[in-house]
Symmetry: C2
Subunit: 330 residues, 2 copies
């Protein structure tokens, strides 16, 4: 069954019934010209887009994984401000030959994400397109906002988890060129790596889980989520704060799975942990006097720029281009 | 100059400088993981997408017109709830060979719309894509919400202006197949119609101005904006309210330009005013006792469905499919 056999109005009606949200503060959800929410204090809003062939590849992403990730990526931006996510709006565009199966699986992934983050889908629209185009707006609230600006010389630089996993998982998927059932523990897919190792990395790319900042946001002086790679995102935080940073390469957390995979794939785990994108860990700075939640990877410095120090304390020479749209990737 | 010669980060920096918004309630605009706004009471949120080749055609839309319309369409949804628009977030995706000229003209159109509606651009993102894909989220506030639900039998049905103009303008543009400088009053483009007539209709399609509901929202029992055509949108309002409607065809407002154009193009002005989309007039219902702002075109009835009455009081036999995505258009 294709979407074209159902029609936009029936599809919207299905979504309205499925996501008939009841949550505190929600006065009116899907089905009118706009949703109505009750807010007080600081409201956070962020919006992102995902385009087939640019942000995702259906050769290795299932619709379920795609739906989950789309929400995670936006929730991560609310978390990165120290906020609590509350609502999302979703725009979905797909070709006329898109199947109902795809549509339902995609919205299963959305629903799973809504439950994971305790948020409600309150609006958006669906339309035809020649390829899949998605956009999400996430809305949250926060008592205390943690900005990218605010890091001070001497502050510790911390992350909430291992880096480079998602980029390594993507590389694995590129080589395997097929979708993976992440929950399938019985059937062993053919993979160049032990299956548990491979799955843990691919999961980080396919279904990243945004990190709740509630243990951090009261203490952090500045914060950002790692979407484009540690060095790029740390560079952003430093530029906004008017400071620099020194990162000790040995202290950047790398998972055992990453180390195993990188050595067997001929990749550098260190390079992946510095420049690989889409880990969606939180990167934040705290006063050196504060007890630190997270893993300390370096310090904020007075001089501009991000430098990386090797095991012997020497400054490493690294080119750290992260991903950016509209640019030839080095 | 192409966007690929500038790169995403520089483009974002330009936008941040250009749209450095200062407005009441805005705590943090473009440049962090999320924007921060101060809200109180009812907050309205709505999001829409526009995809090249589906929602617009660059053979006859200029980037400036496109930017303006993208904002208008979303503001119209806030107005249709009786709200006051405050902020927008914008996602912009385009091909790598998209020119800086296009980008700047598009954002000129956005800026013109921001001024028109007194709203601020506070976030969003830009990314690469193989065609132009846009989404906007609009955020507003309202003391009193006017829903689609709420119309009662006996209520008058009113609209804020003439209908069918935008659809006729689109038909003109389809035939001319080129962009039009709507401000160009000196050079006369070749057109099958007097130029002022043609321009007024094309403007309604290319640069629709959303209707401020402040004179209406205190009185209206239900409201919607006319985006997919009078009969479709009135049908939605009726379904939500659990009522029907009787529309007098003679009372549906049609502009002189529409009448002139329709007769010379061999189209039916009446059909266009009933089924033509994208006029973005407000359609609302009010108690029969209330003095009416707007043009009364009929009454709400007890029986379900929308019927149209001709000049002699007879029920007309009309097929009123409006535009819907994922459906063969009848």
């Amino acid at each position: 069954m294709k979407l074209s056999q159902i029609g936009e109005f029936s599809l919207l009606e299905r979504l309205r019934n499925r996501f008939h949200a009841r949550s505190r503060g929600l006065l009116l959800g899907i089905g009118d010209d706009a949703a109505v929410i009750k807010t007080a204090g600081n409201t956070l809003v962020t919006s992102d887009m995902m385009v087939e062939g640019v942000h995702f590849d259906l050769s290795w992403s299932t619709p379920f994984q795609l739906g989950f990730k789309l929400v995670s990526v936006n929730i991560s931006d609310i978390y990165a401000m120290g906020g609590i996510p509350r609502y999302i709006l979703l725009n979905f565009a797909a070709g006329k030959d898109c199947t109902m199966r795809f549509f339902e699986d995609f919205f299963d992934g959305i629903e799973y994400a809504l439950k994971t983050y305790a948020v409600s889908l309150v609006g958006g629209d669906i339309s035809a397109s020649d390829r899949i185009m998605l956009s999400v707006t996430a809305i949250g609230s926060a008592k205390t906002i943690v900005r990218r600006r605010g890091a001070r010389p001497g502050d510790k630089i911390c992350v909430t988890g291992t880096l480079g996993d998602a980029a390594c998982g993507l590389e694995l998927l590129r080589r395997m060129k097929r979708t993976v059932d992440l929950e399938d523990t019985k059937k062993r897919h053919r993979s160049p790596l032990p299956w548990e190792t491979a799955v843990s990395l691919m999961r980080r790319h396919l279904m990243p889980v945004a990190r709740d900042p509630s243990a951090i946001s009261g203490k952090a002086t500045a914060m950002i989520d790692v979407s484009d790679g540690l060095l790029v995102d740390l560079g952003r935080l430093c530029r906004e704060s008017g400071v620099g940073a020194r990162v000790r390469i040995a202290d950047v957390p790398r998972s055992d799975a990453l180390k195993t995979a990188a050595s067997s794939l001929g990749l550098s785990a260190r390079a992946l942990s510095l420049s690989g994108g889409e880990d969606y860990e939180l990167l934040f700075t705290v006063s050196p006097k504060r007890k630190t939640y997270g893993i300390c990877i370096g310090e904020i410095t007075r001089s501009a720029g991000v430098e990386v120090i090797d095991d012997r304390g020497r400054r490493m020479n690294i080119s750290h281009k992260g991903y950016q749209h509209f640019a030839d990737q080095g």
